[in-house]
């Protein structure tokens, strides 16, 4: 994945994407003696390889049009290439492949099943690291490779953003299973993130990078709590099973509520500034309608996040002895991960300047490509994820 974020050569991009994909396919089916694990892995594998096929086909078309797979070369040659339709088709196919990876609607159908079937720690990784890498790739493709085609991909991403948020949130409202709910919410978050692409230049890139960092921190936190609460066998996957968590384990309950509040986007958390930068980039880029749709969507999202948070805060039912007896134990490793995630979420919410400055430095390198394309923007995202 680090290779993917740093690659400036399309074939290398493809190889990196395949390496990261294959390892995540295997990880998704890690619990092979349950019925859902292999199902998730196979579904993910089939759809995923289909999507990488699209990506490869796009790369091939672009190579056909420009005769190179170097991203900066392509950026130089694309406006003057003769086979303009090849480039357009190549861009569209590459977008399909990448949008599948970031689970944006309408390429999202794999997400809920994979999230539900894969073990929680794997989902924590799955929902952040490959996604961050794929977004980095998307940034590279649209801003670096085809800045001249802005008029073409911007409306496309606008539609995908609105579709992702709305579909994700509406579907998440109906879920009873926590992991499925978070899967749909991940689709919605991909939508919020894509809203940043409506912004112009540096602002949009910095906003997107910041959002990835914030999202990684809080999502890892949520899944760490889920891992602890539902246990290895994941016998307690429903929202009702979280009822009274704060009474069973005040620490876990408070942390869960904190991460969920960040996902809702309440100020002084990373989630707020993520949304804030993303939508202010959109407003700045003139997409006021997108920002309004996005923020109303985040109001909708508050409904299901809060359902879980409030269930955790509610008094436990007395007759349900089985769940109330289970007080999850926090091990050192998971505890450290939790604290790190909580700390990162809080720091991103109180002092976002530092991270944003890094993101902007990265944005500058993307805007004016230097010889060696180091991307501090992405390394920020990577840092907070680990």
């Amino acid at each position: 994945m680090c290779l993917l974020t740093g690659a400036v050569e399309l074939l290398l991009v493809f190889v990196a994407l395949e390496i990261s994909s294959i390892s995540t396919y295997i990880l998704a089916g890690y619990r092979k003696n349950t019925s859902r694990g292999p199902e998730a892995a196979i579904k993910y594998f089939l759809l995923g390889s289909f999507a990488t096929g699209f990506l490869l086909y796009g790369v091939a078309l672009i190579f056909g049009a420009t005769g190179t797979t170097q991203i900066y070369e392509i950026a130089r040659l694309a406006p003057i290439a003769q086979n303009h339709s090849f480039i357009l088709a190549g861009l569209a196919l590459m977008l399909v492949g990448i949008l599948f990876k970031v689970s944006a609607a309408p390429f999202h159908v794999w997400t809920p099943d994979v999230y539900e079937g894969a073990p929680s720690p794997v989902v924590a990784l799955l929902s952040t690291a490959p996604k961050a890498a794929a977004f980095a790739l998307l940034l590279r493709v649209v801003y670096e490779m085809f800045p001249t085609l802005h008029g073409l991909w911007a409306p496309l991403l606008w539609i995908v953003a609105v579709l992702s948020m709305t579909v994700g949130n509406l579907a998440a409202l109906r879920q009873q299973n926590v992991k499925r709910m978070l899967a749909y919410s991940a689709i919605a978050h991909a939508g919020y993130l894509l809203a940043a692409f409506a912004g112009q230049g540096n602002l949009g890139i910095a906003a997107a990078s910041f959002y990835i960092a914030a999202y990684a921190a809080m999502n890892v936190g949520v899944f760490a709590v889920i891992t602890l609460v539902s246990g290895y066998d994941e016998k307690l996957p429903m929202i009702d099973d979280y009822r009274g968590l704060i009474y069973r384990s005040p620490l876990l309950g408070s942390l869960l509520i904190f991460f969920l509040i960040s996902l809702v986007g309440i100020p002084f958390t990373g989630g707020f500034f993520g949304k804030f930068y993303s939508f202010s980039a959109a407003v700045d880029g003139g997409a006021v309608a997108l920002a309004i749709i996005g923020l109303l969507n985040s109001g909708l999202a508050a409904a299901y996040y809060l359902r879980l948070a409030l269930a955790a805060a509610q008094q436990p039912e007395n007759n349900n002895a089985e769940t109330s007896a289970l007080a999850p134990q926090v091990g050192i490793a998971v505890g450290a991960a939790l604290l790190l995630a909580a700390g990162a979420t809080l720091v991103l919410g109180i002092a976002p300047s530092e991270v944003l400055r890094g993101a902007e430095a990265g944005a500058h390198t993307l805007q004016a490509p230097p010889i060696d394309a180091s991307t501090p923007a992405i390394s920020v995202a990577q840092e907070s994820k680990q």
């Binding site: 409904a303 002092a351 400055r357």
Partner: protein, 610 residues
């Protein structure tokens, strides 16, 4: 002393958080969390009392201001300060903090730590809303104030906590989405989140008028839900009946009404005027509707909720009447309502604590068992009704009289009917709860009247109601320092009139006294007499066909003391020191009046950049 004045607001904001950390780290043994929280709350109250003691009543504008950069891109500043409007809000919040702690002393039996931590976070959020002068900072605290409330309603709800909590949260969270977009849009136009910067730019007409109407509407909508104004009150009854007493008493009214005064009327005076007729109508409907519904409630929490709708609507009426008296009365009534509502909540909480039911029908004859409770309840109820010599009278009288003289006799009469209905439901409630034959419920439990702890909370509140009724001048002078600003900006350039008003000029005919007063104080030519600036402002708008000027935006530098001193003074100074000259140079007489002496003899082509 200067160092204290500079850091006092920061201390007030941080102390609750420090208390929360302390509660979280301390062991949950006995009443330890309660004592820590009580000590913190008393310390906070002591700190807030520093503000009125050192508040300069002769100067208007923001005092105790702190303005340091927080986030450099976008430019968010940690900018806090209080003026006559927010001063008393801060003190009221400080006063209600120990009241809330003592009211939940025994009522909160389990998970005390979480309760008190969230209670203290809530205090920080409330203080933050009142003192923030940076729109993003304000928005942050505004949203933050929702979270502890929602969690605590879910945790301690009497019947169906999570449902009420979700309702409360969504009702107030969703309208703040347009609010955030509006703030971002303002930022994209002004490159600033600073209240005074944005205020000045709007007052000078530098912002496109069409979108500005929508921005003002987004602000208004978010605040109206929070107050709540008539058709948006759906969340209040459930929240009142589910929330713990300590939080229910702070949730309604203050935040929304303060925000209306500061950020709706303060930032968008012209648009607020255009919206005023609708809001006055909604307010009067709210007064009558709330009172009628309060008459038929069977549950006393719900009765209190609809009574609150009625009383808060009266305050909205005072605000949007746009008279100096009405505004002062509205602020006074916010304070009074905070105190009275707090006392009523504590008293009803006592009843609920003793008898475990909130159904009015099963009470009756409790007065013989709990005489002290009954006495204090009657005092609070009378203060709520607006009996002369108690706090409610002053505010209601100011609002109703200003509505009668300044807005419309019909609305005033309708609102007065609502006040009479208010007396009806409150007195009937007192009668049903405390008097009449002793009910089974009253006989079923041994009498357990107010303890020392509860008396220690309630008597000071009762005395305060009396003092607020007898000596309003302790409060009003400081409140009034906030209003020349409102009056002044109301006469600012028109940007939005064509969309709402068929007769633009009428918008600027402020009530003579207030206008003369403010202009003589704030325009730089006090010797010019009272009526002339007033007339000239009207001329200016008649003579200025181009509603918007295409000159470069003056660089309103954040440094060099630009943030200290009143908005009005600065708007006037801006107007006078060249920018206004450019803008109004066609009107020679106005130019003569508004430009400072050293510019007066020039041609009037002074540079626009200040």
């Amino acid at each position: 002393m200067n160092a204290i004045n500079n850091s006092i607001l920061t201390l007030i904001l941080l102390l609750p958080l420090a208390g929360a950390v302390l509660v979280a780290l301390a062991p949950d043994r006995g009443k330890l969390p309660n004592w820590i929280t009580l000590a913190t709350a008393l310390a906070i109250f002591g700190l807030t009392l520093h503000l009125p003691a050192h508040f300069d009543k002769s100067a208007s504008g923001f005092q105790f201001a702190v303005n340091v950069p927080w986030i450099d891109n976008p430019a968010i500043f940690y900018h806090v300060g209080v003026d006559g409007l927010s001063l008393w809000m801060v003190v009221l919040t400080g006063l209600l903090a120990p009241v809330g702690v003592l009211a939940s002393w025994n009522a909160i039996a389990e998970r005390r730590k979480i309760f008190f931590v969230l209670f203290l976070v809530q205090q920080t959020a409330m203080f933050g809303v009142f003192v923030s002068l940076d729109l993003m900072l304000y928005y942050g605290f505004w949203e933050l104030s929702l979270v502890p409330m929602a969690i605590l309603i879910a945790m301690y709800g009497r019947k169906d906590g999570p449902k009420a909590a979700l309702k409360f949260f969504l009702f107030t969270f969703i309208p703040s989405a347009p609010l955030l977009v509006a703030i971002l849009w303002l930022y994209s136009q002004t490159r600033s989140f600073d209240f005074t910067d944005i205020h000045n730019q709007i007052a000078l007409g530098l912002i496109p008028a069409g979108p500005l109407c929508w921005v003002a509407l987004a602000f208004l909508f978010a605040f109206a839900v929070k107050v709540p104004v008539f058709p948006l009150h759906g969340w209040l009854a459930d929240t009142f009946s589910e929330a713990p007493v300590a939080l229910a008493m702070v949730v309604a009214g203050k935040l929304g009404l303060y925000s209306m005064l500061r950020f709706h009327i303060g930032l968008f005076p012209v648009q607020a005027r255009a919206a005023a007729p609708y809001l006055i109508a909604l307010a009067v409907i709210g007064i009558l509707y709330g009172a009628c519904l309060a008459l038929v409630q069977r549950d006393f929490w719900r009765l209190l909720a609809f009574a609150a709708v009625s009383h808060l609507s009266l305050i909205v009426l005072g605000i949007y009447g746009f008279t100096a008296t009405g505004l002062a009365g509205a602020v006074y009534q916010i304070l009074n309502h905070g105190v009275v509502d707090g006392a009523l909540f504590v008293l009803l909480g006592v009843l609920y604590d003793r008898y475990s039911t909130s159904e009015i029908g099963v009470y009756g004859g409790v007065a013989t068992k709990l005489p002290r409770t009954a006495t204090l309840f009657v005092i609070a109820a009378l203060a709520m009704i607006g009996l002369p010599m108690l706090g409610g009278f002053i505010g209601e009288f100011l609002i109703l009289s200003s509505t009668f003289t300044g807005v419309s006799k019909g609305w005033a009469v309708a609102a007065a009917v609502g006040v009479i209905l208010g007396a009806a439901y409150m007195l009937w409630l007192v009668q049903r709860l405390f008097y009449g034959p002793e009910s089974k419920l009253a006989l079923s439990k041994p009498p357990d009247d107010l303890h020392f702890r509860e008396l220690a909370v309630l008597w000071p509140l009762a005395v305060l109601m009396l003092v607020m009724g007898l000596a309003p001048m302790l409060w009003l002078p400081a409140i009034e320092t906030a209003f020349p600003r409102v009056q002044l900006v109301v006469r600012g350039p028109s940007t939005c009139l064509s969309l709402f008003s068929p007769q633009p000029h009428r918008q600027f005919q402020t009530k003579g006294r207030a206008c003369g007063e403010s202009s003589s104080r704030y325009l730089p030519h006090p010797s010019r007499g009272r009526s002339r600036p007033h007339r000239c402002c009207r001329h200016a708008h008649r003579r200025d066909p181009a509603r918007r000027i295409s000159a470069p935006i003056p660089d309103l530098d954040r440094s060099a003391g630009n943030h200290i001193g009143s908005v009005g003074q600065r708007a006037a100074a801006l107007l006078a020191s060249g920018y206004g000259v450019l803008r109004y140079r066609r009107d020679k007489r106005l130019h003569h009046l508004l430009s400072p002496p050293h510019l007066r003899h020039r041609s009037g082509n002074a540079p626009a950049v200040i």
